[in-house]
């Protein structure tokens, strides 16, 4: 989230697309309802289903899954035509909007109506409301990201916000709702195969920085790779790790994995059965040489597989049996305290990893940094007289002094604990602290540039000084492109800034010019090459003194010249219900070495006209009672009493056409040849041409009950088919997130 849940109460219009906050964030949804109540905010929901969020909305557009880009271009078309865009904002803070204008010109309301299924009147109405009720905030989640063009979707949405000047304002911004407790923390810590923690890139400079911060030699790290070139290559993804296992078998995608397949998998606290192509996941699990799963409940991956040995299940402790920080969807930190010792033989995750490290022989290197402290000159030293590290405080300190890109320097254990203990002293809407917490925002939302900084509640906000969380856009893409400056325009800078306009990110080279004074020799000594690697913090301190944002003040770019689509473009899903539109808006060419796996696009889409055999649109989504792979929830008997079995929301018209009665079993067939047997549930929330499947069930595979594999006493109260068994091939072109929201299927009476 660029802003926060509380800040939504400042919005005058709330645009919800590809997300269902009433179901995913029921408590957070209260802020949306309060905005509607107290601020007269208009709620707009764009969704293929009439969701619980839509039931509370003022305006609803029932869109065909996968056509979000046309819809937003349709809005931009109307906005530009009427001159509703914030011209000054675009001029000062956005690069490349003209290319967007050109594309938007093609998307007339009539064209949009044909592609999306939303009438021209509704499009115009919604656009008018959204443009006229400023500020507007835009929310999205997996409904927008889980498409082959997911990256395009997540670019067109902020482009809309920037066109209207809603980005970087209280009550505005793009408030992406992260789906998991601490998933924000997980991605910040680098649980991604193409970054280091803190989103440092996989380049030599970053590795050297990390070597230094981990207290090990760079060559030591290099020696862990086959050769240095592999340090710069992304690894497999959660979506397609199994391709690394199955490569070489007939029909499987080729991999580039240094000539070997993936042999072993360790799964820690991850519902890996809740990603697409579940049958492939089963095959991947079957063909591994070693599978280790660490979870408080028996992960369904353990029972879905047919393997008979080299499968180990380790009981890991829950959040109540362990302490540490968590990051909320709005970038705030909170402290979690252990309230009970780990039960039975379960171990906290870090202990499992430490034990593994010990046996693999790198425990000392692994934990060395926690035995070190950062001196004022920016160098680490082994802390004298320190016998053991204090977990998790020493880990938190390590994080705060290392992850500078996102500004975690202010996240000391003491400060975070103090916030969590005093959460009653913070304002519900702004997050601002009062009393002894004055000057800080709850949870010190990052970037929190230093231990004196109070956090950044709303990103990209130039209406406040940097010391209060103000900032422009990050200077990440160079200083100019095609002759146009990429730095912010004159006059566009956070309040009280020494430089009233754009400037590059702070480096040792430019610091003196930017702060307007020369540095002494001792000051110069403390400066690292740039603010991200300056471990004394000197560059950041100097910048903050001058009211400058350490990462610069640049324009946001509407054009990404390194992506296959410079600007977001609509491309039909691989399995599209509109073959005529597939001609006009085809998908990408197949991609080699996409996170090590050849990933198909055009080959799949062009293979045949799927609509003949699979005429029904299929989408997946969440239930309020469950989360992710659903295993934890299905171990609660009360939750199971409410949602006891897997089902399919089907419109009565579609059901009766196929002889499917309410409450009776039905088959859902996928174009990949997989099928699931689920209970039919008549619902008007879906249109007669589509069905909806919740993705939280597991334990059954294509009609076969695998739950007999559960060790005695560990089977959850409810099991069922997994929706992802019928979610077929399809991955985002940049991130490889599975495309689960816009598929095709055939329904059949069972």
């Amino acid at each position: 989230m660029t802003n926060s849940f509380g800040d939504i109460q400042n919005a005058k219009s709330i645009f919800i697309i590809g997300c269902n906050p009433a179901v995913n964030h029921p408590v957070g949804f209260g802020h949306i309802l309060k905005a509607k109540e107290r601020n007269n905010a208009k709620i707009i929901v764009i969704d293929p289903r009439f969701t619980k969020s839509a039931a509370k909305a003022d305006y609803f557009a029932q869109i065909r899954p996968g056509t979000d880009i046309p819809f937003v271009y349709g809005m931009l078309h109307i906005i530009f035509k009427n001159g509703w865009e914030d011209k000054k904002y675009i001029e000062d803070r956005v690069y490349g909007m003209d290319e967007i204008r050109a594309e938007a010109a093609k998307w007339t309301p009539q064209v949009v109506a044909d592609v999306t299924g939303v009438s021209a009147e509704t499009l115009i109405e919604i656009t008018t409301i959204y443009a006229k009720n400023s500020p507007g905030t835009l929310l999205w989640a997996m409904g927008l990201t889980q498409h082959t063009i997911g990256t395009g979707n997540t670019r067109i949405a902020p482009i809309l916000q920037m066109a209207l000047g809603y980005m970087g304002k209280a009550g505005g911004g793009t408030n992406i709702l992260r789906g998991h407790d601490n998933v924000q923390g997980a991605t910040d810590m680098g649980c991604l195969s193409d970054t280091l923690p803190g989103y440092y890139g996989l380049v030599e400079g970053s590795w050297k920085y990390y070597a230094r911060m981990w207290g090990v030699e760079y060559d030591y790290i290099k020696s862990q790779f086959k050769d240095a070139s592999w340090m710069g290559k992304p690894g497999f993804t959660l979506a397609r790790w199994w391709a690394g296992v199955l490569a070489g078998k007939p029909g499987e995608d080729a991999i580039e994995n240094a000539g070997t397949n993936l042999k072993a998998l360790v799964v820690m606290g991850c519902g890996i059965t809740s990603t697409s192509q579940n049958l492939k996941i089963q095959q991947g699990l079957d063909n591994l040489e070693l599978l280790v799963i660490a979870d408080p409940f028996v992960n369904e991956a353990a029972i879905l597989t047919n393997r008979k040995d080299n499968l180990f299940i380790l009981p890991s402790a829950t959040q109540f049996e362990s302490s540490g920080t968590v990051s909320a969807t709005n970038r705030s930190a909170q402290w979690r305290s252990k309230v009970v010792e780990p039960l039975y033989e379960s171990k906290p995750d870090q202990e499992i990893m430490f034990e593994l490290a010990k046996r693999l022989g790198f425990y000392e290197e692994y934990t060395r940094s926690m035995m070190m402290n950062l001196k004022s000159d920016g160098y680490l030293e082994m802390t004298p007289d320190k016998k053991t590290f204090q977990w998790p405080e020493d880990a938190t300190i390590e994080i705060s002094r290392t992850l500078r890109t996102i500004g975690m320097m202010g996240w000391t254990p003491e400060r975070i604990k103090k916030h969590t203990d005093n959460w009653h002293l913070f304002d519900e809407i702004t997050g601002a602290g009062k009393g002894e917490m004055k000057g800080e925002y709850y949870g010190l939302p990052w970037p929190c540039w230093s231990v004196k900084h109070g956090g950044t509640p709303n990103l990209y906000n130039v209406d406040v000084p940097v010391s209060e969380g103000g900032m422009g856009f990050r200077n990440n893409f160079g200083l100019e492109k095609d002759g146009v400056s990429l730095l912010a325009g004159n006059g566009s800078a956070p309040l009280d800034s020494k430089v009233n306009g754009g400037y590059p990110e702070i480096t040792k080279e430019n610091i003196e010019k930017l702060i307007g004074r020369p540095l002494s020799a001792s000051e110069k000594d403390l400066c690292g090459a740039n603010w991200k690697t300056c471990t004394s913090g000197k560059l950041v301190d100097l910048a903050l003194e001058a009211g400058l944002t350490p990462y610069g003040n640049a324009k946001a770019r509407a054009v990404v010249w390194t992506f296959p689509d410079r600007i977001p473009l609509h491309r039909e899903p691989l399995y599209s219900p509109r073959p005529d539109l597939v001609e006009k808006y085809p998908t990408y060419a197949d991609k080699q070495n996409h996170f090590r796996v050849t990933t198909k696009y055009a080959t799949i889409q062009k293979e045949k006209d799927y609509t003949k055999e699979f005429p029904t649109v299929m989408t997946t989504g969440r239930l309020v009672t469950m989360m992710g792979a659903g295993l934890e929830n299905r171990a609660s008997k009360y939750i199971c009493a409410l949602t006891p079995e897997m089902f399919c929301d089907i419109h009565p018209d579609l059901a009766t056409k196929n002889g499917i009665q309410n409450g009776h079993m039905m088959w859902v067939h996928s174009p990949a040849g997989t099928k699931i047997k689920v209970k039919a549930k008549y619902s008007y929330t879906v249109l007669p041409n589509m069905v909806f499947l919740p993705f939280h069930f597991g334990g059954f595979m294509q009609g076969v009950d695998m739950t007999g594999n559960f060790p005695a006493g560990t089977k959850p109260y409810a099991s069922g088919e997994c929706a992802n068994t019928v979610v077929s091939y399809g991955y985002d072109i940049i991130t490889q997130i599975p495309a689960s929201k816009a598929g095709l299927c055939r329904v059949e009476k069972a």
């Binding site: 949804f29 509607k36 009672t625």
Partner: protein
């Protein structure tokens, strides 16, 4: 001195059928699965403009009909309006359920031939006739949070604070503020408020 009159109000403009109240109640009182003292229902699901969700449990009515029809007279009504009953007197006849406009009484299958056992219903977290906060009281009736000065767990858990419970005056004040903030739009009455309390 006037006593508080405890009432429930579910603000249907805010209820999103998250079922938090239903599950919180079941967990807090360790109810057998299948006994749902509090249920959330959605009417006209999928119909724009008509879909409504609301949370229903015993409303602790004025002139409670359940108390009127009980053949063994096992109900007792506290001064603050909370309607409770004695499970050890109850014979599981079901009359209270027939009289109730809200379907609050629940019956576990504990009688002969799997017929109804003693009735169970929302106690507004006020326990039962047994010694307050005793183990026996917990086993039969669940937590007695009112005696500890705590809010009934359903309203405490409500995600959007749709479900309110407390002294009628305080609840009415909150609702009045919300209605005013909404400018009178949205759903401004709760199913059952009039039926249960008849302005008393």
């Amino acid at each position: 001195m006037e006593n508080a009159r405890m009432k429930f109000y579910c603000d249907e403009s805010r209820c999103i059928e998250c079922d938090g109240c239903s599950i919180a109640c079941a967990e807090a009182h360790e109810l057998p699965a299948g006994i749902a003292r509090r249920k959330v229902i959605t009417i006209h699901e999928g119909i724009p403009g008509k879909e409504v969700s609301t949370s229903i449990a015993c409303m602790h009515c004025t002139d409670a009909p359940c108390e009127q029809v009980c053949p063994v007279d096992c109900f007792y009504i506290r001064e603050d309006g909370v309607v409770l009953h004695d499970k050890e007197k109850c014979i599981g006849c079901g009359y209270c359920l027939y009289a109730c406009p809200f379907g609050a009484p629940q019956f576990p299958r504990e009688g002969i031939f799997g017929s109804k056992g003693a009735m169970d219903k929302c106690t507004m977290c006020a326990g039962g006739p047994l010694a307050t906060n005793s183990h026996h009281e917990f086993e039969l009736y669940g937590q007695n949070r009112i005696a500890e000065g705590k809010v009934p767990v359903c309203a405490a858990m409500c995600s959007t604070k749709a479900l309110l419970v407390g002294d009628a005056q305080s609840v009415s004040n909150v609702i009045r503020e919300r209605v005013a903030a909404r400018g009178g739009k949205g759903i401004n009455s709760s199913y059952g408020w009039d039926k249960a309390y008849k302005n008393q």
